[in-house]
Symmetry: none
Subunit: 464 residues, 2 copies
């Protein structure tokens, strides 16, 4: 079952020979509008799962099945004929973000089109294209290499874009079937073009909604203004008080459980010297802002946050309406870092809000839970193997990164499987995921497949 290094040449040749066929299959995958956020697309989501299951079977995987959840099914497949070798679980998602506003797309979001070395479609980079790369590499190594040098499992879910609500219980329930030595995820991007990246950490997330209730109905501000508490004033005071003016989170105890970065972890980030000003200009900003004493990269990857994602109350239409509104609302999320516990963080935020709420209004807080941050130990052999595979495929020195975002199910992999996670993604920063004109660079697509084949080889050499 071992894969001699020269077999990589044969795998490359197989991938090259079948490239057009592979792209046709990917185009068909991208043509299915598997938008998990919109119930109107529930049938499309299901059809996408069926399509993927068929293709995994055709690629040579065994035990292909749809694992039902209360939401969309997860697609499972395996190839377990490498006894004594490590087992890798490939996790990804076949659902996509909504395509709206569709008018802003250059070509239709669900008709993949190639332009200038890129494939344009919703899901091209996030995450159907990257799932497809894994599928093609498994098939190539099976066909051209006569077998895989590792045991491989696929778990491709259908509700990542809406928070993976039902996946952690599935992972718990299926912990035997999913048992693995490492979880490999390709659902991220290079730190910069030409800079292969492996992420060794993800932030966690905790969410709550704040509802301030004042009078039973909107009041005329001429009759009542000045004599009753305005829920928007009370909410603004609550939100404003979450941060100090210089950008620290002001919630008492918020930073208490934050694990101090090791010197090595600081080094990992220090090596990533980007042009911060250019990065901000790209999104229309003249300057950054955040917690004093940290770089922009640290602020957005290894420091925790409290962020208001939305806020509303009163009259928001055209013109004016002189009211004291009945209600005011805000949606808050906290990005968490090790060792913050989501419930403990929510306890502290809630206590702070309740303590500071002004008189004359009632406060309701709806907590929707969350999940902790993840870090992979920097000495993990799975990380080092990923670096070697990337170096070989991209002829460039890979960097270790920390991701500021969150992948909801990752903590469940640690909890239920005890497996470390390797985040080896092949997107690029300008793929415009979640935006109109999402695309995947086809150079990344081709070289990424070579990197994945090399990675299975590296893992095969670790075990056995």
């Amino acid at each position: 079952m071992s894969l001699p290094r020269d077999v990589l040449v044969q795998v490359d040749a197989w991938l090259a020979a079948h490239r057009e066929e592979g792209l046709i299959g990917l185009r068909a995958f991208l043509a299915l509008p598997s938008v998990s956020a919109l119930s109107a697309h529930a049938g499309d989501v299901r059809r996408t799962a069926d399509y993927l299951a068929d293709r995994l079977r055709a690629a040579g995987l065994d035990g292909v099945a749809l694992l039902d959840t209360a939401g969309p099914p997860a697609v499972y497949g395996e190839w377990l004929h490498a006894p004594g070798r490590p087992t890798a679980l490939v996790y990804g998602h076949y659902d996509v973000q909504p395509a709206d506003p569709e008018a802003l797309w250059t070509s239709p979001p669900f008709s993949a089109v190639e332009r200038g070395g890129r494939l344009y479609a919703r899901g091209a980079s996030d995450d159907k294209g990257q799932v497809w790369m894994h599928l093609l590499v498994a098939e190539a190594v099976l066909r051209a290499g006569g077998g895989l040098p590792v045991n491989l499992k696929f778990l491709i879910e259908g509700e990542e874009e809406v928070g993976s609500l039902h996946l952690p219980p599935l992972v718990e329930a299926e912990r035997r079937r999913l048992a693995a030595d490492v979880v490999v995820i390709s659902d991220s991007a290079f730190y910069a073009p030409g800079v292969p990246s492996v992420a060794c950490g993800l932030r966690g997330l905790a969410a709550l909604e704040v509802h301030v209730q004042g009078p039973a109905r909107d009041l005329h501000s001429g009759d009542y203004g000045g004599a009753v508490q305005n829920p928007l004033h009370a909410l603004a005071a609550l939100v404003a008080g979450l941060h100090t003016a210089d950008g620290r989170v002001a919630v008492p105890g918020f930073y208490e459980d934050v694990r101090t970065l090791t010197a090595q972890e600081r080094q990992v980030l220090a090596r990533l010297r980007g042009d911060e000003a250019a990065h901000l200009r790209e999104v229309g900003l003249a300057e950054g802002f955040g917690e004093p004493g940290y770089t922009a990269l640290e602020r957005s990857t290894v420091r925790p946050t409290v962020e208001v994602n939305g806020m509303w109350g009163g009259f928001t239409g055209e013109g004016g309406k002189t009211i004291v509104p009945a209600e005011a609302h805000a949606k808050l999320t906290c990005r968490l870092v090790p060792d913050q516990d989501p419930e403990r963080v929510l306890d502290r935020v809630e206590a702070d809000l309740r303590r500071r709420c002004l008189p004359g209004v009632r406060l309701r807080i709806d907590r929707s839970g969350g999940h902790p941050a993840t870090v992979v130990p920097l000495d993990s052999p799975y990380l080092h193997a990923a670096s070697r595979a990337l170096r070989q495929a991209f002829s460039a020195e890979p960097v270790l990164t920390r991701m500021g975002g969150s992948i909801g199910v990752v903590p469940a992999f640690g909890r239920a499987l005890g497996a470390p996670v390797v985040l080896m993604g092949f997107g690029l920063p300008d793929d415009r995921i979640h935006s109109p004109d999402e695309s995947l660079d086809l150079g990344q697509y081709d070289r990424g497949q070579r990197a994945l084949a090399a990675y299975w080889l590296e893992l095969g050499e670790m075990g056995g």
Copy 2:
């Protein structure tokens, strides 16, 4: 042309005989959705003006015309056949507040329905219903009394609910046509049920919108959260800083020009002893809140305010969306008292906001102007005549009040016509103006018409 006191009996009889016909006309008036704040209703606003002009003609008024402005037209009509008698200008408005949220109405806002002695519709009390009372009384006195004991002019405008922007220039330009000894306005409510009220003061108004611009598009809070200023955080800090925690306006210099109340003015308010707790319970509140050192009535009538009427930004739909929003917005109005100047107040609020805005966002402020407060001298004979007419029609002792609300054009009447204003309104505190289920009490509607007929008689006896 004089109207002997026994003519009042005939006028009453005429009103009673034509009551159903009058209500049909009012229902048709209320069915026209003349929402001045929404440009989609511009046609409806115009149709409402046409309807009202037709009805004024039918009531027997001369010189009926639409007076064009850069906004909706004002409807004019006159009856000037009482030489040597005083001239009264009746001012009101035919436009209404938006009806949203329509789902909270028991019956549709633009289909007037009678329930429990009240007529429910947007504009029933504010101000179409009260304009209609004037129209019916003029017709009744003309028909049943053989003429009016005063010279009467009507000026009914179509943009009061959006600040009467174009009316003051119209009043200036038409100062000859509009010349009057007194301006009579029925666009207010009794202080309490059974307590006829004449207001001797109005607060002024000054309005602005605050726009906070952050990144060029909504950003993924995983990628950017913590490293860029969140426009909602910045806006919340701006709004929160407008007040001290105990309810004073914190804008530097805000109270500087406020005229001290005279002992007599304080007495007027001290006489109005209501059940403040019951008043708050009616609108679902357990406690009031406001500037320390003042009663609830003083806070809402003779003290100035800064009020946020609406605020919005980011994701406000169902579920969650982890973004740093691109923008955040707030609509603010200040209620003014003598001798605050609207532009000076806006200067101060704007300067305060600009001084306090956090880094990392851009601030845009749209000022929409305003108008100062008004007070009527407490010894005005027109006030006393109003008291006598109300006492006679409602068999109860009237009170003098100060209104917390604002009527945009009133300062222009003083400036251009030199005429005092008598605010004799027939709403009740629970009419829910500006809210769902606005209504007009039909007892007030009937007795109010008697009071207006009696008032013309009182004025006729003053002159001539």
